[in-house]
Symmetry: C2
Subunit: 376 residues, 2 copies
């Protein structure tokens, strides 16, 4: 019996090594495509035979595809390999406070279909938003024409480790909603995970070359943050870290949707910006970029971020969501506050996200692809 | 050549295993003393022969000692083992804003000598405080009569990963001072590390059974925090995390020693408390415990801590330094603010530290012993 169990252990060990090598080979293809089998062998240190056998497995799984062989190659042609743009794809869904978006990205991360609709959920029960999200997911999946392997849904609130939306201050009727499970059922059993929108946007930022240690702030009707430490998302003891929108910037300030007072969101959320600018029109606000209200919002943002940097000692701040469209008046005020208030380090790099308002949606879709590539 | 290098690798591997097992055996003795060799073997899974050989090494190094054998034991007596109270000891030094303390703890963590002197460093150059600390360290070392293996010095400011005190807002003339190196030279080459006082106090809290995920706040002339995540101190990208004293609680509030305005320290530091209570006498303040000023300080503390909990998602807050002596008016206000303002989790446990004002000093001294036990 002991011998048998040892033999099983050995087989399991070989399986683990093979799976590890499979991910290694796929990673090399993803990072250097197009690349030959010989190139993969050289970079991984695996034998050509091992690489060929693993590549066969990846071809069979539809994760990798062969390009036409280079002309004039003597002997067996060395067809270059690349990720299969027709292979398993990732579906991203974003249920925002006032919109729903969905997109499909292929294995290379390229967006193959994307739609967004205005859909205000502030007074709605979850079923209305879930129905809109389901319909939109079906539309982008049909349009992309790719086999969708899974989905991630980005949500504007506190998402527990089990994927339940526990609380979204701007969606008062969405309390303890298992959004991932609900959408999975509506999408014919597709595996659907749920995550906080700022967390997913921060991961998108990281995966497109952003800083490894940073506070990423997503500005919208709600204000949230994704905290990146050492190249990974910091989730906190309960998976709910990063609620910067409810860091207090004025203890006796305006009432906030969370029940508190003077939260950052009441000073630098979209509704505060519109109120300060005296317009109900977001596009008009962001086209005019009135200095004083944007500087006031930037000052509040800087006060909250100075606290976060003093606590976390991170070197970078990335401003996303609507903030990049607010321009200099906002970012200058943020920089001024940080320069005056941060004691934990001499300088903090503050930049706008280059990913645009779709960062969370892209982060959600690429999270699926990222998992496929990490665990083929 | 390949064979030789493999043999060297094997020898190095055996060394690593032996060192690991040495720490394992010492850990079992520390955690279960007094304990027999047979008991250690049973708990570690090592053979009795291996345990006996490792114990010989620990006895020779003076880390462990044998108690008298139990009477009436047949055959070779099984002398129980325990940590050597006369063995290598840890020296802790605290240079505070207005005092210097030093203590020696033995391998079991028991305090064997302790002294403190009033010594105000706010207008001083570092050499005066360093001289006081050196003298006090000599006194407690002589009093304890133990071989001191190393020291840690607790400092009220931003300490970089290299042990340099970069900035202490309340000690304006202590800028970029290599306090550990300086004290090491004065203490005849003793290895001296430096750490932030709140970080060391948080570690002391953790090692005496405190929560594994918590923000520990140390209140004094300065206000600092040690952040505990998953049972370890979170240091941040540059080793300078936890500067909660400079989290803003009132953007246009009083000027702070850091150059900012309305920092937590200006509302909940000792000088703010004395000013609010209209007395210059700390003992008088803490004896009278006037409700309104302490509640105001507690409210500011709660506002800053709500921000920290919303960002970090930790379940516990521990209040140390002078705060335990402030009693109910302070802690009730902290709890009220957290209940109203934390969105990331339903409840936060708020407690006073039971370690008293020496937490940082104890954390500094036990850090030395902890290292000795972890890497014998």
């Amino acid at each position: 019996m002991a011998g048998e169990s040892a033999r099983n252990g050995g087989a399991a060990g070989q399986q683990t090594v093979r799976r590890h090598n499979l991910a290694l080979v796929l990673g090399e293809i993803a990072g250097g495509e197009p690349v030959s089998r010989a190139g993969v062998a050289a970079r991984t240190g695996l034998t050509r035979g091992t690489v060929s056998s693993l590549v066969e497995e990846l071809l069979a799984a539809g994760l990798v595809t062969e390009l036409a062989a280079a002309r004039g190659t003597p002997g067996r042609p060395a067809s270059p390999l690349q990720l299969n743009r027709s292979g398993p794809a990732g579906l991203g869904i974003e249920i925002g406070v006032d919109h729903v978006s969905a997109c499909v990205v292929d294995l290379s991360g390229a967006v193959r279909a994307r739609r967004t609709v205005a859909s205000d959920h502030r007074d709605d029960v979850p079923s209305a938003g879930l129905a809109t999200a389901t319909a939109l997911a079906g539309e982008v999946t049909a349009e992309a024409g790719l086999p969708v392997a899974g989905a991630t849904v980005a949500l504007p609130g506190v998402v527990g480790a089990d994927g339940v939306l526990e609380r979204a201050p701007n969606l008062p009727r969405w309390v303890d909603v298992a959004v991932g499970d609900e959408l999975g059922v509506r999408l014919d059993g597709l595996p659907v995970r749920a995550g906080n929108e700022a967390d997913l946007a921060a991961l998108a930022e990281l995966r497109t070359g952003g800083p490894a240690d940073a506070v990423y702030v997503s500005g919208g009707i709600g204000v949230g943050a994704g905290i990146l430490l050492g190249g990974a998302l910091f989730r906190g003891a309960g998976g709910r870290a990063g609620e910067i929108g409810h860091v207090v910037v004025e203890p006796d300030g305006p009432a906030c949707s969370c029940g508190g007072r003077g939260c950052l969101e009441t000073a630098a959320g979209l509704e505060a910006l519109l109120r300060a600018a005296g317009t109900p029109d977001v596009d008009a606000l962001l086209a005019a970029r009135p200095g004083p209200p944007l500087a006031r919002a930037g000052r509040a943002l800087g006060v909250a971020l100075a606290g976060a940097v003093n606590l976390l000692d991170v070197p970078s701040v990335v401003l996303g969501g609507i903030y990049p469209r607010c321009g200099e008046p906002l970012i200058d005020a943020v920089r001024t506050e940080l320069a005056a208030r941060v004691v934990s380090r001499p300088a903090v790099d503050v930049r706008f996200s280059a990913l645009g308002p779709d960062a969370a949606l892209l982060g959600a879709a690429t999270a699926v692809v990222h998992d496929l590539l990490a665990r083929p």
